[in-house]
């Protein structure tokens, strides 16, 4: 029985470390240790239930051990600040006043398209409509919009260039040619491979951010008066 307890504790710790290493992509609205417990409890309860050769007591012991560990971790989470960061992680500020923080995104195993998806889900369609955006420790997304951001959201911005690569599908949707954006980059003195993100909306507003630099917005006219 003591063996079952220690084995349960080992599996719990291993899963917790793995969940923390996987970053915020893997969790949603639960602290990492809560997700680990949810994953474990159902399995621990099921095995002795389905396999008659395993004493039922083994399932009970494992589940009670998980309860003790949960209470212990909750206590540490509430009382010790350094432990809280270690166990549950810290919020990651992925967008600040300079634009997207690519390092923070990478650290959480996310890319620009994930960020834009989160922004859209939160009701912000343009990257320059927010001052700050962060992924909380439990994986939820929060953003602080700029004052009067609604006025700038009158057309759908499309990700044309992300991490130095053109998005063919969005280019097709925009009806613009790749050469148009290559020319725009040349005018701005930006190399394609240095672009972290370039979005274009239907009204001609371009959001451009190079790796490690502050973003800039440009106003341009599309060939043939194109808009969407």
């Amino acid at each position: 029985m003591a063996l079952i307890m220690v084995r349960t504790a080992i599996i719990f710790l291993v899963l917790l470390v793995i969940m923390r290493l996987m970053g915020k992509r893997q969790i949603g609205e639960m602290q990492p240790f809560e997700l680990v417990i949810t994953l474990l409890i159902s399995e621990l309860a099921c095995i002795p239930m389905a396999d008659a050769s395993v004493p039922l007591l083994y399932g009970v012991v494992s589940v009670v051990t998980i309860f003790v560990l949960h209470e212990l971790v909750t206590l540490i989470d509430l009382k010790g600040k350094p432990f809280k960061a270690l166990l549950s992680g810290k919020p990651s500020v992925v967008v600040n006043k300079s634009g997207i923080d690519a390092y923070e995104l990478k650290r959480n195993r996310l890319d620009v398209s994930d960020l834009i998806e989160s922004l859209r889900a939160a009701g912000y369609f343009s990257l320059d409509s927010i001052d700050y955006a962060l992924y909380e420790a439990n994986g939820t997304f929060s953003a602080l919009p700029k004052q009067g951001y609604e006025s700038g959201q009158n057309s759908l911005p499309l990700v044309i260039l992300s991490s130095g690569k053109f998005d063919g599908k969005n280019l097709k949707f925009s009806g613009l040619k790749q050469s148009f954006f290559e020319e725009l980059l040349r005018r701005e003195g930006v190399r394609q491979r240095d672009v972290l993100v370039l979005t274009a909306d239907g009204a001609g507003k371009i959001y451009l951010q190079e790796n490690g630099k502050k973003y800039r917005t440009l106003q341009t006219a599309y060939p043939g008066g194109r808009s969407w």
């Binding site: 029985m1 063996l3 084995r7 395993v54 004493p55 012991v61 003790v68």
Partner: protein, 125 residues
């Protein structure tokens, strides 16, 4: 907070107590069973073991078995059951050598089985 601490402490103590009890209970059960099997082996070696001796060891094991089912995986108990019933049959039919071989296995299992549930590095991994 107090409720949480108390429940954690209580559950922890309960687990610890159950683990200590399980360790002691399984060890004493297998020690007593091992002694019975050793005595049967000695008798078989001397050529004095008969059907009644074998049946007595088996029925004592049956009583223990029911209690051990709560604590041990049923597959481990079934192994002892199989070897012991085979050796009883061999003794009934006068196959002393075969009965001794089976009883040696039972004795070996009764000595090693309790230690497989102890917290040690090989058991953990």
């Amino acid at each position: 907070m107090v409720k949480s601490l108390l429940s954690m402490l209580l559950a922890g103590l309960l687990l610890l107590g159950a683990a200590v009890f399980e360790g002691l209970f399984v060890r004493t059960q297998f020690e007593a069973f091992g002694e019975e099997v050793s005595a049967l082996i000695q008798k078989a070696e001397e050529g004095t073991a008969n059907e009644t001796d074998a049946e007595a060891v088996f029925s004592a094991w049956e009583q223990r078995r029911d209690r051990l089912h709560i604590w041990l995986p049923h597959g481990d108990i079934a192994r002892i059951d199989d070897y012991l019933s085979e050796s009883v049959r061999c003794l009934k039919e006068g196959e002393r050598e075969r009965a001794l071989a089976k009883l040696e296995i039972v004795l070996r299992i009764s000595k090693t089985l309790p230690s497989t549930y102890l917290v040690s590095l090989p058991n953990l991994f």
